[in-house]
């Protein structure tokens, strides 16, 4: 236990990277996801096709494979990314696919009468989506998005394979140094759990905020 306490700053640094990767990937994943969902539902045939293939590939392959492709695979084409950048790119692309499916469902859950009412007042299709449909869809999407984001937080542990010193890798480094397993792994387990709970708490707040109506 003393080893853990002595090395807490080191573990916290790992936790910091875990959070950083999570938040960056969530941010870009959200943008990718919303755009993909709209492309899938309202786009022309080409856009629909592209978004469908994207979602299918990402959901049909392990995230670990996606991470190593971005980090090691792209080097073959002269694209060398830092481990942190590669991690964020891979995870953003990964989470975007899941977010897009969540949003697609949420958008479809909004009654068509809403679009019709907006169009009938002279709004364009785009204005109707932006002003009327999306704000309602976000509210529907929040609970499943919460699941996705907490899943994401845990998935960041995968990027330890490309030498990003996030929480899991920090622990592995300590283990390699001290040859003590349980206290170290247990403590990062607790840290993951605390961070997940924190996320859930924040999302609940957001959900409450959005349900003023």
């Amino acid at each position: 236990m003393n080893i853990v306490i002595e090395n807490l700053p080191f573990l916290f640094k790992g936790a910091y990277y875990t959070l950083l990767i999570t938040i960056i990937s969530m941010f870009f994943g959200l943008i990718i996801g919303v755009l993909t969902a709209i492309a899938r539902l309202k786009g022309n045939r080409l856009l629909q096709g592209i978004s469908r293939v994207y979602v299918s590939i990402i959901r049909g392959t392990p995230p670990l494979v996606q991470i190593v492709i971005v980090y090691y695979g792209l080097v073959d084409y002269g694209i060398t990314l830092g481990p942190l950048t590669a991690a964020c790119i891979a995870l953003s692309i990964n989470i975007g696919a899941y977010v897009s499916e969540t949003f697609r469902g949420a958008i479809q859950a909004i009654p068509s009468g809403q679009t019709e009412a907006a169009l009938a007042t002279g709004m364009s299709e785009q204005q109707a989506v932006r002003r009327i449909i999306l704000p309602q869809a976000i509210r529907v999407a929040i609970p499943p998005l919460g699941n996705t984001f907490v899943g994401m937080l845990k998935e960041t542990s995968l990027v330890s394979v490309i030498a990003v010193t996030e929480l899991l890798r920090s622990a592995q480094l300590l283990v390699a140094q001290y040859y003590v397993y349980m206290p170290i792994y247990l403590s990062i387990g607790v840290m993951y759990w605390i961070m997940s709970t924190g996320f859930t708490f924040i999302l609940n707040k957001v959900e409450k905020r959005l349900s003023v109506y």
Partner: protein, 248 residues
């Protein structure tokens, strides 16, 4: 003025509207009645392009949608038509995430790109007119069906439409709430607003409408003044329909 020429609408093989040609001059109040499935709502929705027409022409104040024009051209006229027509739906379709006032001014802000303060003063006037100014900051979920529908009418009026389209505005309301909505519509009629009302409220149609279009099987079977229609319907179908409705 609204005019249709040989307007037809097909859903796959099902012909819902068959060659409807009708002229509706300004300031006329028209009630469209008929058995369910007769195409009344579809007819109304074709007028402002919520349904794409399969054949013929719709002409609203000189803005023409021709089924044979390219989609781009049709879409453009449809959007101009929508800015000149207000529509009120059976299910109200208020935006649940916006307050009553925000519902009313949304199109002013987005479509007309009006200054917020100007839009708000128009919105408040309209809510006053439908008797709901004290509810301006309420969300739709906090309003009764009748109140929601009155907000929806205010929302439709905000764009200063030349014509109002009502699609069974009282069908989803509890009986005791029908009156307040009909009163608002009646006041609009008295102010000289042109309107087309799809309705099952026969007494209301008789009182308020200048003209009745009786539809059955996708056709206008009878086109008469309301007096004529209710006192002395010409066709057998209309007679039968009236007997049935009046019975209950």
């Amino acid at each position: 003025m609204i005019q249709t020429k040989n307007l037809s609408k097909k859903f796959v093989d099902n012909e819902v509207l068959k060659n409807i040609s009708v002229d509706i001059p300004d300031q006329q109040v028209v009630a469209v009645i008929g058995p369910s499935g007769s195409g009344k709502s579809t007819f109304l929705r074709c007028l402002n392009g919520l349904e794409e027409i399969s054949g013929g022409i719709v002409d609203v104040n000189g803005l023409i949608v021709d089924a044979f024009d390219a989609k781009k051209i049709r879409q453009k006229s449809v959007r101009s038509i929508r800015q000149q027509t207000g529509m009120v739906f059976q299910q109200f379709n208020l935006y649940p995430h916006k307050t009553a006032l925000e519902n009313v001014i949304e199109a002013l802000l987005i479509v007309k790109v009006m200054k917020k303060s100007d839009a708000v003063s128009i919105g408040e006037k309209l809510l006053q007119r439908v008797g709901l100014i004290d509810k301006k900051d309420s969300y739709p979920s906090k309003l009764s069906g009748g109140q929601q529908q009155r907000v929806a009418i205010a929302r439709a009026l905000a764009m200063e439409p030349a014509i109002m389209l009502f699609d069974e505005p009282t069908s989803a309301l509890d009986p005791e709430l029908v009156g307040e909505v009909l009163t608002v519509i009646r006041e609009l009629a008295e102010e000289g607003m042109s309107m087309i009302i799809v309705t099952h409220e026969m007494r209301f149609a008789r009182d308020v409408a200048d003209r009745i279009l009786f539809m059955a099987d996708g056709e206008i079977v009878e086109d008469a003044t309301s007096e004529q229609f209710f006192e002395n319907p010409r066709t057998k179908r209309a007679k039968k329909f009236l007997e049935k409705v009046i019975e209950y």
